[in-house]
Every structure is written in C-alpha cells, then in structure tokens.
C-alpha cells in the first residue's frame, strides 16, 4: 500500500494505492491524523481510483476521520469508488455520511 497526500486550500487529498485492510489501516490513519494535527485543513477528500481492496477496517478508518473533521465543521468527500467498495459503503450506511463526487474537479469545487 502506498499513500499520496497533498493539501489543496482547506482540503487534504488522500489517494490510497493498493489495499486497505486492518494491516494497512494504521499507517493510513497515522498519516492522515498527522496532517490534520499539523495543518489547518478542514476537509478530507479520498481518491479511491487505485484502491484494489477494502474490508470493514476501511469503514473504521473513514468513520474515525469523519468524526475528527466534523468537530471542525469539515466534510469527508470521496470519488471513484469501485463496485465492491460501494457495496461495503451501502451495507454500512457510509454513503449517507460521506459526500460522493464524480471526480477530483467536481469534488474540489463543491466540498
């Protein structure tokens, strides 16, 4: 798993390349929380184009980040979800909490 992080104005962009499971969750969580604690970001935007696998550990990571940014009135956005991940989002109700966008451009304009 490789992580690409960058900041665009008030939004932290997170691209996860590879698999999000319990093993990789910790590294992802730590990297994001470090940015949240050390930068004045309000929103998190996940690019899931290159996520090859996700299980319920991913729900935990996303819910945890959602709670953190909610406290600063920020949002968690997401784009390019594959069908397997969408099913997990549907089962867990995550789609009601996260904002889904079509692509990066639409996301950055509207978040």
């Amino acid at each position: 798993m490789t992580l690409e992080l960058c900041i665009d104005k008030q939004t932290l962009l997170v691209k996860i390349i590879g698999e999000l499971d319990h093993h990789t969750a910790e590294e992802i969580r730590n990297a994001i929380d470090f940015e949240l604690d050390n930068n004045s970001v309000r929103n998190i935007l996940f690019d899931f184009s290159d996520l090859t696998f996700m299980d319920s550990s991913g729900i935990g990571v996303l819910m945890g980040r959602y709670k953190k940014v909610s406290k600063r009135n920020g949002q968690v956005g997401i784009y390019h979800i594959n069908p397997q991940v969408r099913r997990i989002f549907e089962i867990s109700g995550l789609l009601g909490i996260l904002k889904e966008y079509k692509n990066k451009k639409q996301a950055l304009e509207n978040i």
Partner: protein, 143 residues
C-alpha cells in the same frame, strides 16, 4: 460429484498475513473459474474472519490462525479457526455496528459483511478455547 478439492493452511496471527490469507483462498477457489465479483466477495469475507481471529481472538498474543477450504462441484466451504479467547455473546457479536473494540476504530460490520458476501455464516465459539467461522458460497457462474 464431479469436482472435489481440499486444502488447509495455518499461519501466525500477524497482520501482514491478512493479505496472504486472501491470496491463498483466492488462488485455491480460482480453480472453479468464479467471476471476479465472486472472488472479491470471498476475499472480503475471508479478510473479515482472519482479521477478527487476529485482533479479537488473539488480541496482543501470537497464535496460529487456520483456514480450511473445501470445493465440491460449484460449492465452496471455508472455515476460519482460532484458538483464542472466544466470543461471549454470539447474538450480540453478529449485530451490525456492535464492536468490543471501538478504541481500535473497529466498525462492528465484520459479521454483517461476511453474511452479505457469502450465502451462509456459522459461528462456533467457546470462551478461552477459540472460535470457528464457517462460511458457505455456491458459485452462480458455474452452477
């Protein structure tokens, strides 16, 4: 019965073996020529059960996680076994959103995902003896 195959694997309860377990089961099940969606369903369910064995069954201790996999025609039977601490209340454990480890950011959705990605999920557990998760799936693609 036209086709039958069987395997059993054991590995240390280390988190890097979660990905390994998924690869092993996917490679074995691939003999039946499932769809990509079916393989992903199975990998996800196995990932949930193996992760549970590692974080709930063995907590901070090292132990062995075992997976048994039996293929008969288009039917797949997978068992994920740990000899860890066991489940106190199976009914509660199955409930969506219930987790005993919210401090680890567990979502409590593991069993719910196993149930919706497989045809049937059985839980056998004994306190301080361990837990066995039995999962069944019939491949529609080759029935």
């Amino acid at each position: 019965m036209n086709f039958m195959n069987e395997m059993r694997i054991e590995f240390l309860s280390k988190s890097q073996n979660e990905a390994f377990a998924r690869v092993v089961v996917a490679a074995f099940v691939a003999q039946l020529d499932p769809t990509i969606e079916e393989i992903t369903d199975i990998k996800t369910a196995v990932s949930e059960a193996v992760t549970n064995a590692i974080i709930h069954g063995y907590e901070d201790n090292m132990g062995m996680v075992e997976i048994k996999c039996i293929l008969i025609d288009n039917k797949i039977e997978i068992e994920v076994i740990d000899k860890g601490k066991g489940i106190v209340d199976i009914g509660l454990a199955r409930e969506p959103l219930y987790t005993s480890k919210p401090e680890l950011e567990r979502s409590g959705m593991g069993f719910t995902i196993m149930e919706s990605f497989m045809d049937r999920v059985e839980i056998i557990s004994k306190i301080n003896k361990g837990t066995t998760i039995k999962m069944y799936k019939e491949l529609k693609s080759i029935s």
